[in-house]
Amino acid sequence: MMKRPSYFSLYEIALLSLFGALVFVLRTAIVIPIHTPGSSGIFWVLPLVVGAALVRKPGAGTYAGLVSGLLASFFGIEPLHVFDIFKYTAMGVTIDLVSMAFGYRLDNPVVGFVAGAAGNVVKMVVNYAVHLLLGVQGVFILLGIGVSSATHIIFGGIGGIIAALIVGRLYRAGIVHQDDVPDDG
């Protein structure tokens, strides 16, 4: 009987799992004391964008986002606990969609900005939606959404630019090739 090849190779699964874990580690270890909503997005989007750029397969960002969401919910680092899975996964899904729309040109800082900003702002929207579902009054959530969406886009975008510069450097150094065919692990 022929063994059906898995969608992600073992190497890719290991890489994406590490990037997913890195999101959680960065979120926990680094606190930016500027009290601005979305500022931690700089670190959140970075491993997801780099992971999607290196694996270059639809679903790579989603997989890494799901891993980070599972870790965040199990460790309970945020008040939403198990519902954190949704916002981390949504961020990964968004980065996947943006990557596909731009043909995985994630070494381009502008594309990196768009991917990071979109991922971070979708995370914010999903976070608000979960709060609404849990019964928090809409007015409390919607007040301040203007500044919050702008800062999420800016900080997510900065994270995306940094990720694009890292990916570009990896391409230029020859460590990763843009036309690499992933091995079978």
Partner: protein, 264 residues
């Protein structure tokens, strides 16, 4: 060229998201957000009588979990509560970037029966989340005044608050409960979660001790400060005055509040 068009489209979508968010924010702010506190050094005077004590009898005060009113950790006693808007807010943050300062409150009781407890509640500007002074553990602050007047009749107009994480409270001085046709002046206090919102706002008698302390006194005239050690903007400030006895008809509390700028 295709990439450029897609980038322009994506940037336009992100800009539209920001524009729509600001539109929603402005609409909701105009409909719901009321901020009455100012940081001007103008003296604001408020008078409280027995009819302003609209909540109780109850042993606790609002927070994500009930907090004690009297000195100590555990809720006890039968207290009657009033929420007073002093009209002034403390300002925290970086003194190089903002005119930071505290609120000085001068109080004067007339015919106080039993013990009066002062607590403070601050509302985040914009979103309604609330802070209050810590009731137990490190950083506890509070102010208690004891009086010797004879208690009055039990008030018939008070009702206990319902425990939860959101409280809609009437502000003292707004139309009295008898004026059913007139809209009450209410504010919503919302506590996001337990252990959050307890370390921003404090009561102190010494501005050098900004985190405050617990003061118990028999002086019917005196003063204390409300300090804020967080970095957010306080939109509204409320003093919760609670008394553990029904007050006589002659009971009065006069509060004079003013903004005191921090020394730079």
């Amino acid at each position: 060229m295709v990439l450029q068009r897609r980038v322009l489209l994506a940037v336009a979508v992100l800009a539209a998201v920001i524009a729509v968010s600001f539109l929603i924010d402005t609409t909701v702010s105009q409909a719901y957000a009321r901020e009455s506190g100012s940081a001007d050094s103008i003296l604001q005077t408020t008078t409280v009588d027995r009819y302003d004590l609209r909540y109780g009898p109850q042993s606790w005060r609002p927070y994500a979990t009930p907090l004690a009113i009297g000195p100590g950790d555990l809720p006890s006693g039968n207290w009657y509560l009033a929420f007073v808007d002093p009209g002034v807010v403390p300002v925290g943050g970086n003194p190089a970037l903002a005119r930071t300062g505290s609120v000085k409150v001068d109080y004067q009781f007339t015919d106080l029966a039993g013990t009066a407890s002062f607590s403070v509640y601050g509302l985040h500007a914009g979103d309604g989340r609330a802070w209050t002074n810590r009731q137990s553990g490190y950083g506890t602050s509070g102010y208690y005044v004891s009086g010797t007047a004879a208690p009055g009749d039990s008030p018939r107009w008070t009702t206990p608050l319902e425990a939860g994480d959101r409280y809609v409270v009437e502000v003292a001085g707004s139309p009295r409960p008898v004026d059913e046709d007139v809209a009450r002046d209410t504010r919503t206090l919302w506590f996001e979660r337990i252990n959050s919102g307890l370390d921003g706002i404090h009561i102190t008698t010494d501005l050098a001790a900004r985190k405050g302390q617990v003061t118990e006194t028999t002086a019917l005239n005196g003063s204390f400060y409300v300090t804020y050690t967080g970095g957010n903007r306080v939109g509204d400030l409320f003093l919760m005055v609670a008394v553990d006895r029904p007050q006589p008809e002659s009971f009065r509390l006069t509060l004079e509040s003013t903004f005191v700028e921090s020394n730079r």
